[in-house]
Symmetry: C2
Subunit: 349 residues, 2 copies
């Protein structure tokens, strides 16, 4: 690699036209190229990175409701899209990072990014490079930590329990299912196509899976797959499927809510009718964010790295090549077109 | 007291005509008198008691939905009403109880009851008799344990937090409020009359209280009393007030659900629209039953007895005199007429 220090280079970017409300469209984004000096400002603690992989994740939509706890908005007028990625440090004013380090965390949709202020706190140094670097956008990154925290820390799982996962083929869901199988649970997932259902059953080791789009009566579908009821529901979807799950929980059942993707874009949210089950069956419903659990990252790696190396955890990725393919990849992730975790390859090391 | 051993006596009873669906009416009950031998059957481990106080509690309604975890149904055809009470042991075949013991637990609406089988497990010996025995139907009994478990064990309370309690003047709510004040929380309760509101504020030490019947916009009411939001909602009510609370929770807010009295008798339950907050604010909603916490009874007494003796916890009771007044007292509890925890005095020791 050339020594970029101080050099000025062209920097291709994917910019947002404006804030968005709901799922992004390709027309919400445009390309531009600026120049960037490959050096952090003197005296700053910023980190300048070369982006290698960018991650397409469900949280990147715009929400009517601003979440004040949110670290960042992915879309802001004439600013590069903000999201998770894997990058290489080109220059650093921060004591924790030095030139040549590989990192994952929150970066921007452009070739080179200057990471400043609070976002530096979300950068993690990559210590294990024997695995594909793209895994740090998924299996070994934020979605992996979300699955780990949501299953082991929030769901209080026990061997032999009955586990249901919605959006089971998503970046988080496919991992939760594999964690649950490794713990000796019975695991069923729902997804939005027969192809995804087949992969869940044949490649990811789910006991059963079904296409929710073909089930007119979700309660009946759940009763078919869980004649004994559900102990843990890992919810990525909310709405009608959550309501149907409430009818099928066992006593002391738990619902861990990572997201409610069916509800974000509705004018009027679905009314949930079966909350009375919370009392009758001593149910716990818990929403969580991965940000509260990042201190467990080393513990997470300790668990997950051996599993990956032994082939006991597999992971499905869909890689779009080149920054130019980013907008279409992001839109495709929201419409369910991605065949696994959607990643954009910006540059090889 | 005469030695009743073996003697046959008249035994006045309050019987149910049938199972009920919803709140009981006086016409659902009738009186009868049988005779009872004041001795347990030879070789049985039953306990024969003389009932002193009977308790009127919200769980005594009939529910469309049978809860399989429920220990008992209060109403069954031509059987005495079943509920909590305080009693004195007249004869016992059980090693844990002997003649003369005072007990509280599940008994029947009659002068003398033979407690058998599983219900014996719910009998507690009364060890502290320096306090009114009627307290063991409330403050020191099942409602007290419900308040204790729901607040200390389920709600993860911290000093200085903002606590809201619905049905705050009920047997459970008034205690939760006092526990929360003793922990240094800010406490607001809702109730169904101005009189109850006044007692909550002036006698039970709540910081604020309001009459929910006079609030057309519950969200606005909560914003008025909790400009900074709610950390803990102790829910006895469910439905619309729960939905309004979801709009006003602080990050990591907790909702501990002891009951959902607004929902039990509805043909169609209220649809809860604001569950998305569970994700945005990392909310925990947890239903619980006191049956899972009775092992903490000694710990509960250790906490609560000194508070009562020092006058730091007060308790409002409404005592109906005589078994004959039982049906009206029970119906009055459901219609909100009781001035505090509703008790029926059957006999003085």
């Amino acid at each position: 690699m050339a020594d970029y220090h101080g050099e000025e280079v062209k920097n291709k970017q994917v910019l947002a036209r404006d804030y968005i409300d709901g799922n992004p469209k390709e027309s919400d984004m445009y390309f531009s190229t600026n120049t960037i000096r490959l050096k952090v400002p003197d005296g700053s603690n910023a980190v300048l990175v070369k982006n290698l992989y960018l991650s397409c994740d469900p949280y990147m939509r715009g929400t009517k409701e601003k979440n004040p706890d949110r670290l960042f908005n992915s879309f802001a007028p004439d600013s590069p899209i903000v999201g998770y990625g894997v990058a290489k440090v080109v220059d650093s004013g921060h004591p924790d990072f030095k030139k040549g380090d590989l990192v994952w965390g929150v970066t921007k949709w452009e070739e080179y990014s200057l990471i400043t202020n609070k976002l530096i706190e979300s950068l993690f140094k990559i210590e294990h490079t024997d695995l594909p670097l793209s895994y740090y956008t998924g299996l070994l990154g934020m979605p992996g930590m979300t699955a780990y925290a949501g299953f082991y820390e929030v769901s209080s799982p026990k061997k032999g329990e009955y586990v249901f996962i919605s959006s089971a083929y998503g970046a988080v869901g496919q991992l939760v299912g594999q964690f649950a199988k490794l713990m000796g649970c019975y695991v069923v997932g729902s997804a939005g196509s027969q192809e995804k259902v087949d992969i869940l059953k044949n490649k990811l080791g789910f006991d059963e899976a079904f296409n929710y789009k073909e089930e007119h009566d979700l309660d009946a579908a759940l009763k078919r797959y869980f004649p004994e009821g559900i102990d843990i529901y890992f919810d990525n979807v909310g709405g009608k499927i959550l309501d149907a799950v409430l009818l099928n929980l066992r006593p002391h059942g738990r619902i861990s809510v990572a997201g409610m993707i069916s509800q974000y874009n509705l004018e009027e949210p679905d009314g949930i009718k079966h909350l009375l089950k919370v009392v009758y069956k001593q149910i716990r419903i818990e929403g969580f964010t991965v940000y509260d659990y990042y201190h467990l990252f080393p513990k997470f790696l300790e668990l997950v790295l051996p599993y990956i190396r032994e082939g006991k955890i597999v992971y499905e990725e869909d890689t779009a090549e080149g920054l130019e393919s980013g907008p279409a990849a992001l839109v495709g992730m929201f419409s369910g077109r991605s065949a696994g975790k959607q990643v954009v390859l910006v540059a090889r090391e």
